[in-house]
Amino acid sequence: VLGEGFPKVLAAAADGDGAAFAILWRDSHPPLLRYLWVAAGDGAEDLASDVWLDVARRLSKFKGGEPEFRGWLFTLARRKVIDKRRRDARRPESPTGDTEPLDRPSSDDTFAAVAEDISTTEALKLIATLPRDQAEIIVLRVVAGMEAKEVARIVGKTPGAVRVAAYRGLRTLSARLTDTGSRAPGHLGGSPDQGGVTR
């Protein structure tokens, strides 16, 4: 988050300053990429490039502060995701029989991996197992740091609906982690007497 320096950086970037744009990019690209990874899976980096290209084209016309810029950025990203889903629906890819051995599930269990080493990627994988709207909302709130109102504007729901979806998603995650913890006792810092996930 750039804070008070954001207007200057934005104005310089709108004038075509590459260094100012690099500041914006470094600040906003990681959460954008994580959101796209959860919302669209493979191809997140391609979508992120498209989003930044749109930003570069339209930045001179943008007006607003940092929250508005983030909202605009993630709105563009969400539209790209929707377009990708439509494209994928029009041209579905069905795997042939030759790839079946490659598609076998690995021995790694996502929850077990999270329990062992909670990396960013594993955490995002875990969030991506949620229903799509819940996963999107949780990422926008946790990773992008947005309030419920801003998220509601992006996803086209009311703030109340956004809160409900986020709470449901968190409860689902908590339940899965609890189940994982009960299968792998001693992980995630919980202890039976503390009422942790290994309970």
Partner: protein
């Protein structure tokens, strides 16, 4: 307290499932706002807090490896947008193409309107070629086309019985509705023949006194050609000759009709008529 009395968040252990409705709304809001790593989160939600904190970790080098490419693309996009500001962006593309897209139909529509006005004016002035003028006459109230037949320079054949007034039916052939301008009270028969109702008639042989208007000279009294234009019955009655007149064919009367020389003014030619045959017929009578 039964299981239905309070809110579900107040009864975490009713179902016997450890994770049921956990975390509660307040804890969930704390987790979503990024404060999950703090100790304010209940211990049983610590795992969830760790997962969310891991998802919100600072950027990794792998995530930032595309910075240079992004900046290059940005500079290229800015350069292009400065070169062609209205074509580069989508909104700008609309701003360029829309006026052009609007201009073409407007030009086509204007051209069509101008052409229609030109044709309409020409049709109203009765200056179109005959087929087009006839079409215009059918489509709107443009005047009917004048018969394009050549003006008869040769007098018709000899007067036959029942043809009261011999002579070419010039007025009937070439007369147009404005032929009514001929002075009233003079040459009544011709005035009738020149009326608009019989305008296109070419010797319609309806006994209206111009039965010799055709070169064939076959029209007799009361014989209307079948292909001729329709003339109402009452009109036919009015155009019928007043009384049959026996005329004597004078061979010499034919010869001068070929060149239609203006004969000496006779009493019958005192009528303001340009039909030389008329005077002769009266003379014969």
């Amino acid at each position: 307290m039964t299981g239905f009395d309070g809110s579900p968040a107040e009864m975490p252990n009713v179902s016997g499932h450890a994770g049921w409705l956990s975390p509660d709304d307040a804890t969930a809001e704390l987790l979503l706002s990024g404060q999950g790593a703090d100790s304010v989160v209940p211990p049983r939600e610590r795992a969830l807090a760790l997962v969310l904190a891991a998802a919100a970790r600072p950027a990794t080098p792998r995530e930032l490896c595309g910075e240079q490419a992004a900046v290059t693309a940005f500079e290229l996009a800015v350069r292009r947008s400065r070169l062609r500001p209205s074509v580069w962006t989508r909104a700008g593309a609309w701003s360029v193409r829309r006026p052009r897209a609007r201009r073409v139909p407007a030009l086509i529509g204007g051209g069509v309107l101008a052409l229609a006005a030109l044709l309409g004016g020409t049709a109203a002035a009765d200056e179109l070629p005959a087929p087009l003028q006839m079409m215009a006459h059918h489509f709107f109230d443009a005047p009917a086309p004048a018969r394009a037949a050549p003006r008869p320079s040769v007098n018709p054949g000899p007067a036959t019985r029942g043809q009261r007034r011999a002579g070419p039916n010039i007025s009937a052939r070439t007369a147009r509705p404005d032929a009514k301008k001929s002075p009233k009270g003079k040459a009544k028969g011709y005035a009738k023949a020149a009326s608009p109702a019989s305008t296109p008639s070419s010797g319609n042989g309806q006994g209206n006194g111009n039965g010799n208007g055709s070169n064939s000279g076959r029209q007799g009294r009361g014989q209307a050609p079948r292909e001729g234009p329709h003339v109402p019955r009452e009109r036919q009655e009015t155009l019928r000759p007043l009384s049959p007149v026996k005329t004597t064919e004078v061979p010499s009367a034919r010869a001068p009709q070929a060149s239609a020389p203006p004969g000496p003014p006779s009493r019958s030619q005192a009528r303001p008529s340009a039909r030389p045959g008329t005077g002769r017929a009266r003379l014969r009578r």
